[in-house]
């Protein structure tokens, strides 16, 4: 495009046709004071601070509303201009509180910066006391301290011109003007979309985010999108929710796949930390983010992301072995393969996937979907060696440039009770693997006791109920303090699982070498002291009973099992975990990640570990460690518009099949959102990420010429 040339304070600068003098000057790093102008908002020429003198024009003009012309000669500094700016500032400050240090925006305030730039003080003018306004905290997201407002009108333009929401405007009480909602109603009642664009553009401390809404231990740019911050893999959640809302579930899957290779698994069983961060829960309920992910995967017919997803960088001739093909190992394998390395995954089980294929029951996670996701990883050229147990990784390393130990925690742990060595005493891992493999589970007998209230215990109990067993789930934790998530706790009893909480276990009773019962008594409390290994409990007198059963299943923790090897090739600590410094083990070139260093955790955490270790290993192998990629181009429409009753829209839940029917079948217990439900739920999103599109306003100190 043809550029114009104009002179500003003796300096020749270029401008684009249509640019204002202010825009052109700022772009050329020449500062002109201004406060009502924002680069993303229409010009209002309200603050009169950006006045300049232009040769040939009579009197000063606002540079924000004066179009740059070729050959223009502009002066930004003169005694008259300085005086005009000083008076305009004095006018604004006359009605502005003096307690800068008590303001949430102290040192982040554009008005304060301008005061320093222009040398303004709270001045000789009359102090104007405003009465129409005050602190308004009638909503949990945006704090409005309107006595700090200078009515620059940025928020009004953001809400009306940029967002087309129209929740705020200029209002008037008596002779006093102020920024108001229609009828002075709370924001929720005027269909505010809580996008917080008004907060983002406010140059003072008048509009701020409610304290505690965002984390303060991450950069602000990230913190303002809390779902994405909370997600261990930092999936671009607002983007995929937007794709669902726009009726593009395939795009949503592509966006998810930019960060994780297991959208389906996560859509079905993720522990959704994102939802705990969701800003919407301050209004009513968090978005059903996981459910929207599941909807996307179940409705992705085109898989338009596939070509890019499978593309790999040119071969590097480096060879990597991954020991353990669970979510962490497979994720690392995928990203290392994408970086051009030759990757082989070793797994002692007959099938890749770790708990995704051998632990998590079918009523929670459909195995065919998992297999498809694993197949895509293999389609990139990752090799798999299943049924091959690696007993010494140092030996393996001789054939590879780098090795990843991502063995997870696949060995169940039994409590040291008398009778725990009876043949009908099992660990959850064994039972779940058999159940998942649809083996005959007759060996458990008719009645079982499951010990442990975590999600693994519930997985076992709910699986066995489906096989017609009488299942008692018992644990030391008191009722109301069980460890599994709330869904498990409410759904399992409906399916027929007996929950017996608050028990202390004495022994597994056997007769003729066969389990006949679990002897226990009730406790009011029980605490375990890790340091001394002692248990302190308050028993209920006379509560000792024997729960009759044919088998006992321990869901009381898992470990790596690495200490069982004579020499695994790397240093192993006393609890069976690799000795690690970050992802490094005691041997150079051998890395470790996932549950093998964190202990038992959630799939999304293991995936995040897989991503992180892949980056570190790629750098070790000479790469740049850059694994982020864009599979789907984004468009974000800043005009979100008005939706009646937006703030009151309640969360749409996935339909839960009736308890009786659930207890008899391994079919998934939830029905995926319908298209309508998904769009409805996605439409509740506050679109926190739109805020990132608003440009940062540079204060005067950031300009070369001020």
């Amino acid at each position: 495009m043809e550029k114009l040339r104009l002179t500003v304070d003796g300096q020749v600068i270029e401008a684009l046709p249509g640019q204002s003098v202010l825009e052109a000057a700022l772009a050329a790093d020449i500062y002109i004071p201004h406060i009502c102008t924002h680069p993303d908002l229409p010009v209002q020429a309200n603050c009169k601070l950006c006045v300049v003198e232009i040769e040939g024009l009579d009197g000063p003009v606002c540079s924000c509303e004066t179009e740059a012309r070729d050959g223009m000669v502009v002066r930004t500094k003169s005694d008259d201009l300085t005086h005009r700016r000083a008076v305009a500032m004095e006018f604004m400050l006359a009605g502005h509180p003096h307690d800068c240090t008590g303001c949430k925006s102290f040192l982040k305030c554009e008005l304060q910066a301008l005061m320093q730039n222009l040398g303004s003080v709270h001045s000789r003018l009359r102090t104007i006391r405003r009465t129409a306004i005050g602190i308004n905290v009638d909503n949990p997201i945006i704090v409005r301290e309107m006595e700090r407002c200078i009515q620059c009108g940025r928020c009004v333009r953001a809400c009306n011109d940029l967002r087309k929401v129209g929740a705020i405007d200029y209002g008037k009480k008596g002779d006093e003007t102020y920024i108001a909602t229609p009828g002075d109603l709370p924001l929720a009642d005027v269909d505010c979309r809580f996008c917080s664009a008004c907060v983002e553009v406010c140059p003072t401390g008048s509009l701020t985010d409610q304290l505690g809404l965002f984390r303060d231990d991450v950069p602000r740019e990230q913190a303002i999108v809390p779902c994405q911050v909370e997600c261990p893999a930092h999936i671009d959640i607002p983007a995929y929710i937007r794709a669902v809302e726009e009726g593009k579930p395939g795009d949503a899957v592509g966006i998810i796949r930019e960060k994780v290779p297991f959208p389906l698994v996560l859509g079905y069983i993720c522990n959704h930390l994102c939802e705990t961060g969701c800003k919407r829960q301050a209004l009513n309920d968090p978005l059903g983010i996981r459910n929207l992910k599941r909807y996307s995967v179940d409705n992705d017919t085109e898989q338009a992301w596939k070509e890019k997803y499978l593309a790999t960088a040119p071969a590097t001739s480096k060879r990597v072995a991954v020991v353990g093909g669970g979510p962490c190992g497979l994720t690392a394998a995928y990203y290392l393969r994408k970086k051009g390395h030759e990757v082989t995954v070793y797994d002692k089980r007959p099938e890749l996937g770790g708990p995704m294929t051998s632990g998590i029951p079918a009523y929670r996670l459909p195995i065919e979907g998992v297999r498809k996701e694993i197949q895509l990883i293999l389609d990139t050229g990752v090799k798999a060696e299943c049924g091959k147990e690696i007993k010494n990784v140092a030996e393996l390393k001789k054939d590879y440039d780098a090795v990843l130990v991502s063995v997870g925690v696949s060995k169940g742990r039994k409590l040291p009770l008398p009778g725990a060595d009876l043949p009908q005493v099992y660990t959850a891992m064994d039972v779940l693997a058999d159940s998942r493999a649809e083996k005959d589970m007759g060996y458990l007998g008719d009645t079982v006791c499951v010990i442990g209230s975590g999600s693994v215990g519930y997985d076992v109990a709910r699986s066995l109920v489906r096989l017609g067993k009488t299942v008692n789930l018992t644990c030391v934790e008191q009722a109301g303090k069980l460890m599994a998530d709330e869904d498990d706790q409410s759904e399992a009893p409906e399916e027929g699982v007996n929950i017996l909480p608050g028990r202390s276990f004495e022994a597994i009773e056997g007769e003729n070498g066969k389990v006949v019962g679990l002897r226990c008594h009730e406790v009011l409390s029980s605490t375990y002291d890790r340091a001394t290994g002692t248990i302190t409990e308050v028993p209920v007198e006379g509560s000792q009973t024997v729960i009759p059963c044919d088998s006992v299943i321990f869901a009381t923790g898992q470990h790596t099992g690495l200490q069982e090897y004579e020499d695994f090739g790397i240093a192993i600590n006393g609890r069976g975990y690799p000795v690690n410094d970050g992802f490094k083990t005691s041997v150079e070139g051998i890395f470790t990640a996932g549950d093998a260093i964190t202990g038992i955790s959630f799939v999304i955490k293991a995936i995040a570990q897989g991503r992180d270790v892949a980056q570190e290993m790629d750098r070790y192998l000479g790469g740049d460690g850059e694994i982020d990629e864009t599979l789907v181009e984004r468009t974000r429409n800043p005009e979100i518009g008005k939706i009646e009753g937006f703030a009151k829209q309640r969360r749409v839940e996935q339909e839960l099949l009736p308890g009786q029917a659930r207890g008899k079948s391994f079919d998934n217990v939830y029905r995926t959102y319908s298209c309508e439900e998904a769009k409805c739920e996605a439409g509740r999103c506050l679109q926190c990420d739109l805020r990132r599109d608003l440009q940062h306003v540079r204060v005067w100190t950031e300009y070369a010429s001020k």
């Binding site: 309200n46 005086h83 008076v87 006018f91 009605g95 000789r124 200078i150 008037k172 002779d175 003007t177």
Partner: protein, 217 residues
């Protein structure tokens, strides 16, 4: 421009081209600024904060709270407002003020420094009294006074309590004998309490005394 506010409510500067006995140029300028203040839409610093500021200063000047520097300050601020584009409302009101300041500096000085209003228009600078030689004791004024500032009775010369009086002017309208009048810095000799009609001889013509200057706002 931002606002589409009609500026025709703002008086025209030609109204004060000549000095008139029935108006005060300070009061006139204040009304121009107050009108702009009342009308302003809030979208420009000059009307929103500038006119508000002028209104505050003028409010002080007509209520005895004017500062010595206020006239220079008014002129400085009004000049900036009058020469800043974008808000016709603020510009027109500020120009009115400047015109008044330019033409009648003595009157402004009188208000600001000596707390007086030549034509007894600014309420803080005059008092209301009943001329004892004209009053017929009809009590019509007592019936309309909204604050009960007038004491008297049938056949008695009424007396206005200056501290209570709010200068609403209602008694001027109803007095059938045109006995109502204003006083400025000098208060005429009057009965201190109601006396029968015809019994007060001091009269307005008698020796006047200077009233204590006070804030009557």
């Amino acid at each position: 421009m931002n606002c589409s506010i009609n500026v025709e409510h703002i008086p025209d500067a030609s109204e004060i081209a000549e000095a008139r006995a029935d108006m005060c140029v300070v009061d006139w300028a204040k009304r121009a600024i107050d009108t702009a203040h009342h009308e302003n839409c809030g979208k420009s610093v000059m009307c929103r904060d500038g006119i508000t500021q002028l209104a505050a200063i003028l409010g002080d000047i007509v209520t005895g709270k004017g500062q010595p520097d206020d006239l220079a300050l008014l002129k400085e601020l009004a000049e900036v407002i009058a020469t800043t584009g974008g808000c016709e409302l603020a510009q027109k009101a500020a120009k009115d003020l400047l015109e008044s300041l330019r033409r009648y500096p003595e009157e402004w000085d009188l208000h600001c420094r000596r707390k007086r209003c030549t034509n007894l228009i600014c309420k803080a600078y005059f008092g209301v009294y009943c001329a004892p030689d004209k009053c017929q004791g009809c009590t019509a004024c007592m019936k309309v006074c909204p604050v009960g500032a007038i004491s008297g009775g049938p056949g008695m010369i009424c007396v206005v309590d200056t501290d209570k009086c709010v200068r609403c002017g209602k008694c001027f309208e109803v007095c059938p004998h045109e006995a109502r009048a204003k006083f400025g810095a000098v208060k005429p000799k009057l009965p201190e309490a109601p006396v029968p009609v015809g019994s007060f001889s001091g009269g307005a013509a008698g020796g006047a005394r200077r009233s204590r200057r006070r804030n009557l706002g």
